[in-house]
């Protein structure tokens, strides 16, 4: 049996290892991560873990005993090179790991804010447990919190600290929140939600500098105004970690390029999760997604291939974000929809937005409406669509899908 080395111990890397064992893989499984300790969940870092509701020991995806029991070797180290001729991965401490199959689950890193002062104390990102710990320490003494970027991470963080009673300002460069991920109706709903809880949201806000000596004291905008700040959180998107793959001569194009079975052009190397660009049947071109679902389903697809029958990747993308008491669930891909129909009652905090492209349902965004979300996942999995004329008041999407899918 082939020895599998997995570089990257996030959700995708963990799942590749776990699924390989679940599907009966007998060879060695080595999981290489550059953080100490067992692999952990990231979604709670901006929510329950940040607020202290989820204790650190529950952050682990599995306890150490799981890795011992299943013979999964955890290696703490940073991979710095791949020798594809000799099938070896080099680590920064000069160790080498020999592989029969190599899986790259290198994920992404936070995009850096390209302005003077971005490295001041009190300017933080949120990706790792260490980041969340640093933020927790800072939150206690903070008076003026500024969040740069109105995407999922920035808004989840803003909601968590607003709940603690802190005043927060969210700066968004575009004209609406979560622009890249949701329809205008959902953006508007979340703006109201945050503002109602006392958070200030500024649009068209372009940050030109961060002020301060050693510690950050303010955020300067393009119009010359300076917002006082003693804690700045930067959430302006991510960059895939592709250097290792590119240096090894593998194809890279905003991600590590793989086929529909997660293989790179080298049959001994695969890539899954946030770092992989793959041909999706739910998108019109190559796709790279940043989500737990994508990481887990990619990993399962790959583990199936490595242990038996190859099947093309076909999972329906879905996402979630919890902010205050609003539970946003998205099924499908709505980025280039041309029509959006709101169903339900936004004022009551429970509605779904049905997004169509050229008359075909491509995405359903649900706020506190899990039945719609699950029905959408079922419908998309079955390859079905929806006649937009049906979306009248009183239409029950869940019942409709139960009848047709």
């Amino acid at each position: 049996m082939t020895d599998v080395v997995i570089v990257g111990a996030g959700q995708a890397g963990f799942q590749v290892a776990a699924s390989l064992r679940e599907k009966g893989h007998q060879g060695r499984v080595v999981l290489v991560g550059d953080e100490p300790g067992v692999p952990y969940q990231r979604p709670p870092l901006s929510k329950a873990y940040l607020s202290g509701a989820l204790p650190g020991e529950r952050l682990a995806l599995r306890p150490q005993t799981f890795y011992d029991k299943h013979g999964i070797e955890l290696v703490c180290g940073r991979a710095v090179g791949i020798d594809r001729d000799r099938c070896r991965v080099a680590l920064a401490d000069e160790r080498e790991l020999e592989y029969g199959h190599l899986v790259l689950t290198t994920g992404t890193r936070n995009r850096e804010l390209p302005v003077p002062g971005a490295k001041l104390d009190g300017v933080l990102g949120l990706r790792t447990r260490a980041d969340a710990d640093a933020l927790r320490e800072r939150i206690d003494g903070a008076r003026n919190v500024v969040v740069i970027g109105g995407g999922f991470i920035g808004l989840e963080f803003a909601a968590s600290v607003a709940k603690l009673g802190l005043s927060v300002t969210v700066l968004e460069a575009s004209d609406r929140l979560m622009r890249r991920a949701v329809s205008p109706a959902v953006s508007a709903h979340y703006r109201e939600l945050h503002e109602r809880r006392g958070t200030r949201v500024l649009f068209g806000a372009s940050v030109v500098a961060l002020h301060g000596g050693h510690e950050v004291t303010g955020v300067e905008l393009a119009d010359g105004s300076v917002l006082p700040a003693d804690l700045v959180v930067v959430g302006i998107g991510v960059v895939p970690n592709t250097e290792l793959a590119a240096d090894a001569g593998l194809a890279v194009d905003d991600g590590i390029v793989v086929d529909e079975q997660m293989s790179t052009s080298d049959l001994r190397v695969s890539a899954v999760g946030d770092c992989a660009v793959y041909p999706s049947r739910h998108a019109r071109g190559p796709l790279r997604l940043e989500s737990v679902q994508n990481a887990v389903d990619h990993a399962r697809c790959l583990a199936t291939r490595l242990t038996g029958t190859a099947e093309p990747y076909a999972s329906v993308p879905w996402f979630w974000s919890n902010q205050f008491d609003a539970r946003l669930q998205i099924a499908g891909l709505g980025t280039d929809h041309d029509e959006a129909i709101v169903h339900g009652d936004p004022d009551a905090g429970s509605f779904s937005v049905f997004c169509f492209r050229a008359g075909r349902l491509v995405c359903v965004e649900s706020v506190n409406r899990t039945p719609d979300h699950m029905a959408a996942r079922k419908l998309f999995t079955a390859g079905g669509s929806l006649d937009r004329e049906l979306l009248a008041p009183g239409f029950d999407f869940r019942q409709h899908v139960a009848a047709v899918a």
């Binding site: 979604p43 005993t65 669930q329 079922k378």
Partner: protein
């Protein structure tokens, strides 16, 4: 501490003493019980911690909330009358000796 028993499809069973307040899913993850994926970490969002509760004991559990009910419509293995998401079952002293069966697939 309440004892929870997890039964696999091949009939094998494991029992654990579980601290009250934990969910049946969390206890399974901590004990390394196979077949419970819990992709979303226990938010009733992914439907990958589906279990079948012993039919004779289902009455002991509060009815599922609307979110859980909706999730159960889309589990990998068919929903049954005793289907629940293990992340939504909080272990209490009253649930001592609860038995759940893990489905073939999540």
């Amino acid at each position: 501490m309440p004892k929870i028993t997890y039964v696999q499809q091949d009939g094998s069973a494991e029992s654990f003493d579980v601290q009250a307040g934990m969910s049946v899913m969390e206890a399974a993850i901590e004990a390394g019980v196979g077949g419970i994926v819990a992709e979303c970490g226990g938010n009733a969002i992914c439907a990958t911690c589906h279990v079948y509760v012993d039919p004779g004991q289902i009455e002991k559990l509060p009815l599922p909330q609307a979110d859980e009910d909706a999730m159960l419509d889309n589990t990998a293995c068919p929903r049954a009358e005793n289907s629940r998401l293990s992340c939504q079952i909080e272990v209490t002293e009253e649930l001592d000796s609860l038995t759940v069966t893990v489905p073939e697939e999540q």
